[in-house]
Amino acid sequence: MYDEPVFRPAGDQAVLVEFGDEISPETNSRVHRLAHAIEGDVPGVVDLVPAYDSLLIQYDASALPLPELQKRIVELDSTPGEAASEMGRVVELPVLYGGVYGPDLERVSECSGLAANEVVRLHSGTDYLVYMLGFTPGFPYLGGLNDALATPRLATPRLEIPAGSVGIAESQTGVYPLSSPGGWNLIGRTPLSLFDPTRQPPSMLSPGDRVRFVPLDGPDEYESMTER
């Protein structure tokens, strides 16, 4: 992690504030802390895009001169704020693992040499940090997958993955908020809707949250919780 934030130009009305060149919860928490501090407190800021180790700030150059923005960022970054653990919530996501809901559970089991129920136990036994959302609306980039569960992507991506699918690709795990094509190993599915454009906020998860997957007993329980 850098001591001082590094400013990189991203056009004439955006600036990238970089805190390091790595994926770590500590660096990421500094990103979210700065984003919270800027929120509503710096007139002229148009939007914020928090990521793993950087924050993209879009600003209105007619209202906010860049040197002033940079000065404010340095001030806010050096002001001690809430710890990340106090900011993010823990969000429980019920998941039905295996079967038609998780057709690649067996593949992950074979790759890891672990029994399927052991894969489920390890996958649901950790809290995952939502480093950022991106790729598609509401898609969380999660950190914290147990190394034993890392599995290569499918050689041939599926054309359509149902919304709510929980997958593993290399050392990452994630949930597809909308149905889309993809090459992740699908190990289960959540009945909850991660993204709904008519909801406020539209995304169930926010950057900095933690996700806990809770195994469901069977299809009946899954169906009774279905939001889609």
């Binding site: 990189r8 130009p9 991203a10 056009g11 004439d12 009305q13 955006a14 990238l16 970089e18 060149d21 790595e22 994926i23 984003a35 148009v46 939007d47 914020l48 895009v49 928090p50 990521a51 793993y52 180790d53 950087s54 924050l55 993209l56 879009q58 150059a61 007619s62 860049l66 950022m132 959302l133 991106g134 790729f135 598609t136 609306p137 509401g138 898609f139 980039y141 909308l178 993204f195 454009p197 008519t198 906020p201 539209p202 995304s203 926010s206 950057p207």
Partner: protein
């Protein structure tokens, strides 16, 4: 609310767009909005709207529209040969379109995206604070999709009077060779001088693979020094992303919020609309400028938009009382310097201080035509 416009033919790709959807990128929601922001804002201002009102973005082949209520419209951006009831429709100008009229487009002459603003703005529900259509995820605009035959659009009540472009305004001629200015970064350090010179010294061709998400450019490869991949970060508008194959892609309105490819530069705001008007097969050249130069170009654009004006009364003039050749400041009841507020003759109660004494008196302001 009233049904104002029926879609007889939708055109190739006609969507409802406003200035864009801000505040939701942290959830992975793209900004969307008009590709050519200047053209959208001008169209809205011309019909007396707020510049963020929802309008139609029409691409390559414009729609055919039946006008069901008297409306004021303005068409800006690309020249797609608009006609109103069989006569050429002037662009960059507010026009009264009578009920029963038919607006149609007859071929792309210059640029690729035209904008149609209707006084009041198009009445569709806001989704995440914006009326912009994001087709890929199917929300915003009209049911999250391009317009289709048989759609009917309502408008809000017009908030203001039609306006006109400032004197001496020349409608942009987009041409076929697009010169756009960029600011290097955020990852220009991932490229050596040769690669930066390739970007700035070459002529690129707009690929057929270009859309509202990004403009892919064919041409010489812009080679990375090492890896094309970075830790995923936010994507700025106009970012020139270079993937592993060395082909630059300029990220446009529907760009993903985050990405893991290096970005060698970003197109400046003032020139992004020009690029949005480039047609596949046309050429693009990049010039590097400083942020200060970009902000000066932006200020010029903003001043032009601010100068779009209505047939307004003359500007207010200060009122002065002159006694024995000495001007005495006159203030109104609130202590503010008095002006002919609306440029018209009026009567006020005012006070003036003379040699330490405050005098209250009635003032009649008479505006007379200059000789």
């Amino acid at each position: 609310m009233r049904s104002a416009i029926q879609i007889i033919e939708p055109g190739l790709f006609t969507t409802i767009q406003d200035r864009g959807r801000y505040g939701f990128q942290r959830f992975g929601v793209p900004v969307s909005g008009a590709m050519d922001q200047f053209a959208l804002r001008a169209a809205n201002l011309l019909v007396g709207n707020d510049e963020n009102a929802a309008a139609l973005e029409m691409t390559v082949i414009g729609p055919t529209l039946q006008i069901d209520a008297d409306v004021v419209i303005a068409v800006t951006g690309a020249d797609l040969s608009p006609m109103l009831d069989g006569s050429p429709l002037p662009r960059w100008e507010a026009v009264h379109a009578p009920a029963g009229g038919r607006l149609s487009f007859h071929g792309m002459q210059d640029g690729i995206r035209a904008y149609l603003a209707v006084a009041g703005g198009i009445d569709v529900p806001e989704v995440m604070d914006s009326r912009s259509t994001y087709v890929k995820a199917g929300f915003g605009g009209l049911d999250g999709r391009p317009l289709a035959r048989g759609d009917a659009l309502d408008t809000f009540a017009p908030p203001g009077q039609p306006r006109e472009m400032p004197d001496g305004f020349m409608p942009p001629a987009y041409g076929e060779d697009h010169s756009v200015r960029v600011i290097l970064g955020p990852q220009d350090h991932a490229f050596d001088n040769d690669a930066v010179n390739t970007l700035l010294g070459s002529t690129f061709t707009v690929s057929l693979d270009s859309d509202r998400m990004g403009y892919r450019l064919d041409g010489p490869k812009v080679a990375h020094q090492s890896s094309p991949d970075i830790v995923s970060e936010g994507n700025a508008p106009g970012a020139v992303q270079v993937s592993g194959d060395g082909a630059p892609t300029v990220l446009m309105a529907d760009r993903g919020t985050t990405g893991g490819y290096t970005k060698i530069a970003a197109v400046i705001t003032a020139d992004l609309g020009q690029l949005a008007q480039a047609v596949p097969g046309e050429t693009v050249r990049f010039t590097a400028v400083s942020i200060d130069e970009a902000h000066a170009a932006l200020a010029e654009r903003e001043a032009l938009l601010a100068a779009i004006h209505g047939p307004e009364p003359p500007a207010p003039k200060p009122v002065a009382v002159i006694i024995d050749g000495e001007a005495i400041e006159v203030v109104d009841a609130d202590g503010e310097p008095m002006t002919t507020t609306d440029g018209r003759s009026s009567a006020h109660r005012a006070t003036a201080t003379l040699e330490g004494m405050a005098y209250s008196f009635g003032v009649e302001v008479r505006v007379e035509e200059a000789e």
